[in-house]
Each structure stands twice: as structure tokens, then as C-alpha cells.
Subunit: 186 residues, 2 copies
Amino acid sequence: MRRIAPDRDGLLAILAEVFREHGYEGASLALIGQATGLGKGSLYHFFPGGKEEMAAAVIAHIDHWFETNVFAPLQDVQEPRAGISRMLQATDHYFRSGRRVCLVGAFALDDARDLFAKEIKTYFSRWVAHLAEALKRTGRGEAQAADLAEETVAAIQGALTLARAFDDTAVFSRALQRERARLAIG
Amino acid sequence: MRRIAPDRDGLLAILAEVFREHGYEGASLALIGQATGLGKGSLYHFFPGGKEEMAAAVIAHIDHWFETNVFAPLQDVQEPRAGISRMLQATDHYFRSGRRVCLVGAFALDDARDLFAKEIKTYFSRWVAHLAEALKRTGRGEAQAADLAEETVAAIQGALTLARAFDDTAVFSRALQRERARLAIG
DNA sequence: ACATCATTGTACCGTTCGGTACAATTCCCA
DNA sequence: TGGGAATTGTACCGAACGGTACAATGATGT
């Protein structure tokens, strides 16, 4: 191949936004073409597998982003509390305080779940597992760490739903604040 | 009119299930016709407004169901704790311990939000408000009651997302158990 | 039995869907 | 400056979409 696709990251970011806004079914190729400025020719050139490949690429892209920006801080062995705090900060930033929806969470609820069940499952289970590990490092027992981790991730997802329903970012901020207190972070 | 529609409740229940499983966009008339056993003729006879009217009717139906089965117990003035407990029980039953998805929550995330923004908002705000009132009756202050109520509803929604992602009802049960403890119900 | 209205099946409408084919263009490197 | 690959626009495909029209059928009260 002569060169890398012109701006794959930017393209994937736009695709992600379309899928977030409209869901898997609702994200038509017309909508995607309009948002990206690319015709079908280009779209199918970059993603021969069509919409499904686009969605898969977007999920993989998000997965990678979370791995390096959200999960990585949780692996700070020296200062687990600071790591958890940075995770919450990155989460708040990524979801734009609730203005943005979690694409993986949205996919989990609609038809797309069947297509991407495995990816959805690993995305959430890694989030929970990494957080539980960090909590153990703060001195909590295995069971309590697992319980707290699951609760926190669920609280984030629920807060996204409610923030969206109320069209109010304060709902999301309050939820993060509560988790911060519950996890005994500053 | 000669008589009431043959079994409107049963019909709405089936419609609700289709919308829950496939989302608003994903619930095609073909799918709906197949699930209900009704042709387009009948469907458009009962819902002249088409898909949008069907979804609106389903939301209203759910709204009514929650009002009488989930919110009503919260208005028990004598025993607010027992009322909250019954609310959680009804919630667990309705969502089939997480096997079922919240249609309103799912609509809040995808395209349907724009069509039903008002209905979605009132559904959740009534849930939160009624729960907050009940919590005040247990002796909590205004602010704490509101905070706890919002947290609980968010936790339920998040647990539904996670239970669906993990395909594991235990996630939902654990979440309800946590809220039960947090709300100081037996 | 009849008139009446509720209910249904079927054929059809225009539009949009995801996807394909392919020629034209653009870009890069030798 | 040319050759070849990367990229793009356009036309097109069959299928499925939501929705409409309407005649046939079913039930009901008189």
C-alpha cells in the first residue's frame, strides 16, 4: 500500500458520533456520508464490509481509547486513589458531562447487541475488572472491591441515561460526585 | 363505536416487547405485524398515525402501568419503607430481573428521544419525585432525599444496561440489593 | 334477513435502505 | 513526466421501508 488512510482517527471519530446520535439502525449510509463528506465509493473503499465493519471499527477505536485513557490510570500501583480519580476525570471528559452518550451502552440495549455481544461484554468487564483491582490496592477486600466497581460502572451508565432523558448535565456531574465520595477519593 | 378493541392491553404488551427488543427504528412494520399476527390493514385501523402513534400508545401504557404498580406504593403515607420496598419489588418483577430492557430508557438514548422527549422526561422525573417524597417520609432531609432518589433510579437504569451487556441477571439483582441497603429498607 | 360498521388481506405507492460496479480522477513515486 | 495504485462520484440494483387504498369479510343490533 502506498500510504495510510488520510485521517483514520478523525474519520472514526465522526462515525462514532453518528452511531452515538442515531444508533446502529438509525445511522444510515446517507447520514454517514453527509457527516463525513464521503460518498459511498470512499466509504466502501475504507470499509469493504459496509456498515457492520464501520461499527466494528468504531467500537475497536473506542475500546483502544478507553484502554489508554480510562483504564490505564487504574493500573497505577503506587497511588491507586489518584488513578481512580483520573479515571473518573477522563470519564467525565469523554462523555462531555453527560451530553454524549455511551455508544457501547446504547448498542447493548438495541438490536446491535446481537452483532457485537462479545465486544460489548469485554468493554464493560474490563472496566469493572480494572476498577476492582485498583480498589483492592486501596485496601478493600476482594468482594467489596468487585461490588463497588460494578456499582460504579452501572451508576455511570445510568447517569448517562438520566442525563440524556432530563437533558441536564448536572445529573451526570452529581452522579460522578457521589461515586467519588463512595470510593473515598478526594 | 360498537365495542372496545378486542384486547388492547394484550396488543400494547406485544408492541412494547417489539419496541424493547429492536428499538424504535429497528421495529419495522413487518416485525410488528409478525409479532402481533395483524396485517397492515388492522395495524393502521387501530393506529392511524402509524408507527409513531403505536410507540406513543405503548409509552402511555407503560406510563400508566408504572403509575399504578410502581409509583403508587411510594405514596403509602403510613409505611414509607414498606412502600419503597414494594416499589423495588415491582421494578424487579417488571424488568424480569434484568432480562427485560427499559423501553423509555432505550428510547432516551437513540433517535426516538427527539420524538418523545417530553414523555421520557416526565416518566423519569415522576419516578424520582415520588421516591424522594417517600424518602422524606422516612425522616430524611429534602436534599438527601432528592439525591438518594436520583441515585437509585440511575442505578436501576445502569444495572439494566450492564445486565444486558453481560447477559447476566445477577448484575441486576445485586444492584437492587445494594439500593435496598442504601435506602435502609429491610 | 338486513343494514351497518368494525375488521382484515392484499395490492400497490414512492422513498430509502445497504450494497455493487466501474469509470474517472487524484496522488505519489520512480 | 509517466505509470500504477489510491481514492472518489455516479449510476444503478433488488429489497425493505412506512404508508395508502379499497374491496372483501366478519360481527352486531334490529
